[in-house]
């Protein structure tokens, strides 16, 4: 009996990551420089937010150049509604779109490396291309968003905890990538959207919640599937060990990229690791006793267990909390490595 191998975590040593300034500015690194996550790559002046007004907007005065407004000053009218400046900033006219827009007062933006690696290339005043090593966590379903930010890891496993933690992190979750536990339901996804979390990762999700995330343009990545399924233990352990690290959510590629240090423990190309890398290319394997498998059959859907014995068209799997082995039909499982 043959079955495919799924690799939930893959180490990728040749990833190129582009880090860029939101506006033109200064870069402090050169090609060939070695980088650490908290190293400054550059800085620039940047407005944290800008708002475009509809064409019907009537400005307080006709203008074609940047005009400064203080917070609370009247900017203009939209029908009968008065529009005031929410922050100190500048209003301008965009010739291309024919619309007025308001930008907050520019502040200094500092770009950090966020990862270990080497500068591979530079676009002057704009961006840095970094060659780095990452651990790629496979997301079996995800919205096609891209985002990056600090990884916040909530404890497994209860839903009550998820909401409690989301509430507690109200002031600090904006723009972050949050692992919310085994299961992300619709309420949790909506809450995460309200809190401006850029992406959430969970063991499983509610299909309705997934549709919502897609329509609301929030990143959602699922590790095991749909329904109430658990996050594999070894994935959770990895998340825990890298909590608060800057990570990259690649919805288009179906992976969460976690920058790794490249130190001896994590990435050293020891003889053993080289062998592992060679074997890694195999995508199918003979099913044998003792292998770790992910089961895709109710009521054990998503769980990981060890093969106890192999029959003609099924296998018997032993789970941690079960007394005896459970029969699982071929092809309702994958070998896990």
């Amino acid at each position: 009996m043959l079955a495919p191998i799924i690799r939930k975590i893959i180490q990728n040593k040749t990833v190129m990551v582009e880090r860029y300034l939101p506006s033109k500015g200064n870069l402090f690194v050169q090609k060939g420089d070695r980088l650490e996550p908290f190293q400054k790559l550059g800085d620039c002046m940047h407005s944290p937010s800008s708002v475009y007004f509809p064409k019907e907007f009537e400005p307080v005065k006709f203008l074609r150049e940047k005009v400064y407004f203080q917070k609370g000053n009247l900017l203009g009218k939209l029908g009968a509604k008065k529009i005031t400046a929410e922050e100190n900033g500048y209003m301008s006219f965009d010739d291309a779109s024919g619309e007025y827009f308001f930008e907050d007062m520019p502040v200094k933006f500092t770009l950090l490396s966020g990862l270990w690696g080497e500068v591979s290339d530079i676009v002057p005043e704009s961006s840095v291309l970094i060659k780095t090593t990452v651990a790629e966590v496979d997301l079996v379903a995800c919205t096609p968003n891209f985002s990056f930010g600090e990884l916040v890891v909530f404890p497994n496993p209860t839903e009550i905890l998820e909401k409690f933690y989301l509430e507690s992190f109200v002031k600090s979750t904006e723009g972050k990538i949050v692992y919310v536990g085994h299961y992300a339901d619709l309420d949790t996804i909506k809450k995460a959207h309200d809190l401006k979390i850029s992406a959430i990762v969970a063991g499983s999700a509610d299909p309705v919640g997934f549709s919502y995330a897609k329509s609301a343009n929030i990143g959602l990545g699922v590790l095991s599937g749909f329904g109430k399924l658990e996050t594999p233990d070894f994935v959770y352990k990895l998340f825990n060990s890298v909590a608060y690290r800057h990570v990259f959510f690649h919805g288009d590629l179906g992976v969460l990229r976690i920058p790794m240090s490249g130190t001896e423990e994590e990435t050293a190309p020891s003889k053993k690791k080289k062998t592992a890398l060679k074997v890694m290319r195999k995508v199918i394997k003979k099913v044998m006793r003792g292998q770790k498998v992910q089961v895709l059959q109710k009521p054990h859907f998503g769980k990981i267990g060890i093969i106890d014995r192999v029959s003609v068209s099924s296998i018997f799997v032993r789970f941690d909390n079960e007394l005896g082995p459970v029969e699982i039909d071929l092809p309702n499982f994958f070998i896990i490595e």
Binding site: A141, P207, K214, F226
Partner: protein
């Protein structure tokens, strides 16, 4: 060189592998490439090359020692494989003379005349099972409701598209839906029955490993090779779609005959072998009187007198009777 023919379908890979004595062995690898699962490791090309290498290894042979022929729903070419012949699924189906083939899997319904495809079961649905199938296309379920929903999708798709399965030739159901192992074997028969919409008599076959396509592919490569598919293609029997109360008289040359009445809205099976032709006389209001010869098969002669053709397995009462009928029919042969 011996031949290895492969069909890459929605939920698995079917293979016909030539043995030393020139006969063919049909095998199935019940998994397919899922972008969600494997795209970070490999592409389709690499995956299927590995699968075929693995199958060859299991048979203690080398893939390089075979002429490799390929068909299926995949983005060709596959540069990692030295393929001698690639053929389009529709072309292979259209060359079937003996039967009227109907290919069915979770996203495609294909006959000689019609193609209804790419109605994706994606995860933008409230059904968790469908959502998971979009990630794990090979899944088989032990949950009755999930099976009802999944087969219901196929039936709805066929009916909404107005596809009428009518043919004087035997209707041969093939494709991954029929190659997949079901928890209850009866599900394949009930799906086949539900796909008929027009009253009439149909001789039905079920291809359990895409052997129709594989044998045609081999014939395209070398017309002198004869592939015996009798072990894989099941002769199911005759389906009589006769809505309403029906009177039946069955007789063979050896007996005096058997008369019975079948009430409307039921499914009734008569054990009947496919080795002899039995004389059949039927009285039915909607299709009139009929006298003729009929042959059986695994299920024998199956009468379906339902007035409204709703999905059979969604009606627990009729389905239970149907399951009992099938068990008895199979025992009776």
């Amino acid at each position: 060189m011996p031949v290895l023919a492969a069909y890459i379908g929605y939920s698995g890979v079917s293979v016909a592998i030539e043995k030393q004595d020139g006969t063919f062995d049909f095998q199935r690898f019940p998994y397919s490439y899922s972008r969600e699962l494997f795209s970070s490791v490999c592409d389709e090309n690499y995956f299927y090359a590995e699968v075929l290498e693995g199958i060859a290894k299991e048979n203690k042979v080398k893939l390089a020692d075979f002429d490799l022929l390929m068909t299926g729903f995949i983005s060709f070419p596959l540069p990692d494989l030295n393929i001698k012949l690639m053929a389009d699924v529709r072309d292979l189906l259209s060359k079937q003379e003996e039967n009227f083939p109907v290919l069915i899997d979770e996203v495609t319904v294909l006959t000689k005349d019609t193609m209804l495809s790419q109605v994706p079961i994606d995860f933008l649905t409230n059904n968790e099972y469908f959502a998971n199938i979009s990630i794990y296309p090979q899944l088989i379920t032990r949950d009755y409701n999930d099976q009802v929903s999944l087969d219901g999708l196929i039936i709805d798709k066929v009916k909404k598209a107005g596809i009428k399965l009518t043919s004087n030739k035997p209707v041969l159901f093939t494709g991954d839906r029929f190659a997949r192992r079901d928890f209850e074997p009866v599900f394949k028969y009930s799906l086949a029955l539900d796909l008929f919409d027009s009253p009439g008599y149909y001789y039905v076959k079920i291809d359990r490993n895409n052997a129709t396509l594989l044998s045609q592919l081999i014939k395209e490569y070398n017309p002198n090779i004869n592939v015996d598919t009798s072990q894989v293609i099941e002769e199911v029997g005759t389906f009589a779609i006769v809505p309403g109360d029906t009177e039946v008289l069955l007789s063979t040359a050896l007996d005096t005959g058997q008369f019975f009445e079948i009430e409307k809205n039921s499914v009734f099976s008569v054990p009947l072998d496919n080795s002899i032709t039995t004389k059949l006389s039927v009285k039915n209001k909607s299709i009139g009187n009929l006298v003729g010869g009929v042959v059986g098969g695994t299920l024998g002669l199956l009468f379906d007198t339902r007035l409204e053709r709703n999905q059979l397995i969604s009606d627990i009462k009729i389905m239970n009777t149907f399951m009992r009928e099938i068990e008895e029919a199979v025992k009776g042969i």
